[in-house]
Symmetry: C2
Subunit: 323 residues, 2 copies
């Protein structure tokens, strides 16, 4: 079981550059913005999206300066959506660190998110690549629309098709855009661009399924939030969907299908424990591994290299982290 | 005194197209987004930024389809900032129409604003003009940073220099970008692009000074909000700045300079009436007219045409509206 992420030293130092560049976007603006971004960066995060970009850039010998711009833009966009998400959910902690939302007014939180969006768009434009710029803004539309669907559509949606659409919007779309944009900014054939797009998609789907599994089985101290949070918020993810298929007779499942929610708080707690100990977890993991395998296969046609090795390592890490 | 805006029929019908295109951005996304945008569009607004763009396009015989994209992008960006502003201020009415914020949850309001930003960025990218795209995202940064400064910096700032910086960020920056981008998308010399940039800047400065005067002297039923709102929020605008220069002995002025706020609510009400009847209003109007005159002069080198006539008419309208 692999749970640490091995990143080539030169890529690790480029990730450092991405973080520096993220911070430097606030130069010349209100000093509290830099302070806020420092807090946001200090909460860690593996910078998986920048890693995908820089490793694909390495794989294809792409333009380093444009790839750094892209990686910074994508991570700023991701950070901006997290800032607004924490406000929307009223979350007080993320990865165990107090959210901006818990310390600042809603006004300051909204504007900080907006500022990060604006910086992200500015950096994306600096790639000077129209298709990359268009992909970037289109992906923001997909992500935000996904959140709007989640907010406006009745909770406790029990369709697997909807689940996969939801995690595409939430996570896989930005992974896909990261990979495709990195390929577009590098010397690559159309086939290579398409196969790397699929790599990003599959990796993103695997990532989110694992995230949803960790919401049931994760170590609270590592995940940084209480177990079973999704179900408590009325969010039906893959482990619960499999559990429903396997146990249609569980009264909580019937409750969910009929009333579109589990009404009793103690029933939810029982359900979280039951799911955690059921075969639903293994089935969800199998699905995540299938996505990861699809991602791995996308790299088949590339010659062996340190970058390819690291992309395969990243794929392993994504399915094995914290399990 | 001119208070109605005369727009050539063909430009008026293009404004109709801009509004249709704004609405069509929500096609294929959650239906409540279209409903929200319909409410936002129904609150009226003169679409001054699209007018600037379409008239400059007409003046220079620019590419119609790209100019329509740009006009839609800019108005969507403007609408997105209004949606987040209303949330930040807790405003319940805008132009007499209930704000989204008054009817929806903060979560839905934040996400609707984000969605409009994303659509705006997508349309801006469709101009296929890198300088326009870069200008667009940079301007969003300027606008948001201006709001952050207003939120984070102690209120009751009594410097005229800061006031002009503030209204540049708040209003003139987007007018300037509208004008410059329209010129960039049209066949124009560098000199023409620069002079039209200055036109947009000056018109925007005039517009905001007049807005700040109307906050004191406007007809509440037309302005759609109570008189004196700025001062009540601790926002020192040009009429108050002139009043302070002319009446340093007024106790409320001393209070403001020393304590950075007027503490007594009844003092604020007295001050609003006193300023309204003072020569400060005339002085602020003189400043607005000077900006408008600067804007008018920028059009001097262009041959007479219906578009030039309409741009001059727009400038007149901006300083004379509702006065």
């Amino acid at each position: 079981m692999i749970s640490t992420l091995k990143v080539p030293t030169e890529i690790q130092s480029k990730i450092g550059l991405v973080e520096k560049r993220m911070l430097s976007q606030t130069d010349g603006y209100h000093p509290d913005l830099k302070a806020a971004l420092e807090v946001l960066l200090s909460s860690g995060g593996k910078r998986i999206r920048p890693l995908i970009i820089l490793l694909i850039g390495e794989l294809l010998s792409g333009d380093e300066s444009k790839l750094l711009n892209l990686a910074t833009a994508i991570e700023l966009l991701h950070t901006a959506t997290l800032v607004h998400d924490d406000l929307i959910d009223g979350s007080l902690l993320r990865r165990g660190v107090p959210t901006l939302n818990s310390q600042w007014s809603p006004a300051a939180t909204v504007l900080t998110g907006d500022f990060l969006f604006a910086c992200a768009a500015t950096l994306a434009a600096q790639t000077d690549h129209l298709e990359v710029i268009k992909l970037f803004s289109k992906t923001l539309t997909v992500i935000v629309n996904g959140e709007i669907n989640q907010l406006f559509t009745s909770h406790c949606n029990t369709s697997k098709e909807d689940y996969f659409k939801r995690i595409y919007a939430k996570t896989a779309s930005l992974f896909e855009t990261s990979a495709r944009s990195a390929a577009l900014l590098s010397p690559a054939t159309k086939t290579q661009i398409d196969v790397l797009t699929k790599f990003g998609y599959s990796l993103g789907m695997a990532f989110q399924v694992i995230d949803d599994v960790l919401d049931y089985v994760g170590d609270e101290s590592k995940v940084g939030k209480p177990v079973g949070g999704d179900l408590r918020q009325g969010l039906i993810t893959l482990p619960m969907l499999y559990y429903m298929e396997m146990h249609p007779d569980d009264p909580a499942v019937a409750d969910l299908v009929i009333h579109k929610c589990v009404k009793d708080e103690s029933e939810i707690s029982r359900l979280v424990v039951t799911i955690k100990e059921s075969r639903a977890i293994e089935k969800a993991l199998t699905q995540a591994r299938a996505f990861a395998e699809e991602a791995r296969r996308c790299l088949d046609t590339f010659a062996d290299s340190a970058a390819k090795e690291a992309l395969l390592g990243l794929t392993d890490y994504i399915v094995d982290r914290n399990l």
